[in-house]
Amino acid sequence: MLIHRFNPTDHFRTMDMLFDAIMPPGRRATHFVRKPARVSLDDSEQAFTLRAELPGLKPEQLELSVGEDWIELGAKRETQYPEGYTPLRRERNSYEFERRVNLPKRVDAENVTAQLRDGVLTVTLPKHASVQPRQIAVQAA
């Protein structure tokens, strides 16, 4: 479970996701990308993976900090146009945000890795040893 603690408009996103889930893909009308910087969190056995869409962002425009059970990311992008052009249509946004994601389990903050590639940030947060599943050897009595 991912707990957001920031924006009330997230409820609309949740509704969008619910509608997407009940509509079969083929009959859905194509819609526009709703907003920049979409963030998702995956929970696997070994690690959490956070994925954020940050088109046009350079690594130096991104700030990441990680604690025992949270991650914070801040980014700022300004859409700039080359000089001498007249805009005919403008849909892309500049964005600036700070977001804190609380993780449901402890992570090994020392071994967190982050990669920014093709405008997508992927952060891998290995779970702390204390919350990883352990196999118990059963001994014959």
Binding site: H31, V33, L88, E91, D118
Partner: protein, 107 residues
């Protein structure tokens, strides 16, 4: 340049979305900028056909599709594109005035 919305009937497991774009113009060219996060070069197709510019791209999670109607003033042979940091830049040069006025007389 005007936009057209497309509805896709192709069955795909990925959600199909229209990428967000900016269109700019100066005396020499039109410049189209599109956000395509998660798309690399191999997963990007740009087609110019019958006065239509079509962008099709796929990321791990999404399928991006969008069509644009091009004006007669675009020099289709000189279209150039660049993809960097999930941002696509398409340069659509305008035909030179002289070229536009050249009329071939036959017979």
């Amino acid at each position: 340049m005007s936009t057209q919305t497309t509805e896709t009937t192709t069955p795909s497991t990925k959600t199909v979305v229209h990428p967000l774009v900016d269109v700019l113009e100066n005396e020499r060219e039109f410049l189209l900028l599109a956000d395509l996060p998660g798309v690399n070069r191999d997963a990007l197709d740009i087609t110019v056909n019958g006065g239509q510019l079509e962008i099709h791209a796929e990321s791990e999670t999404l399928e991006y599709r969008r069509n644009f109607a091009l004006g007669d003033d675009v020099d289709l042979d000189a279209v150039e594109a660049r993809l960097e940091l999930g941002e696509l830049e398409i340069h659509l040069p305008k035909r030179a005035e002289a070229q536009a006025r050249k009329i071939a007389i036959q017979g």
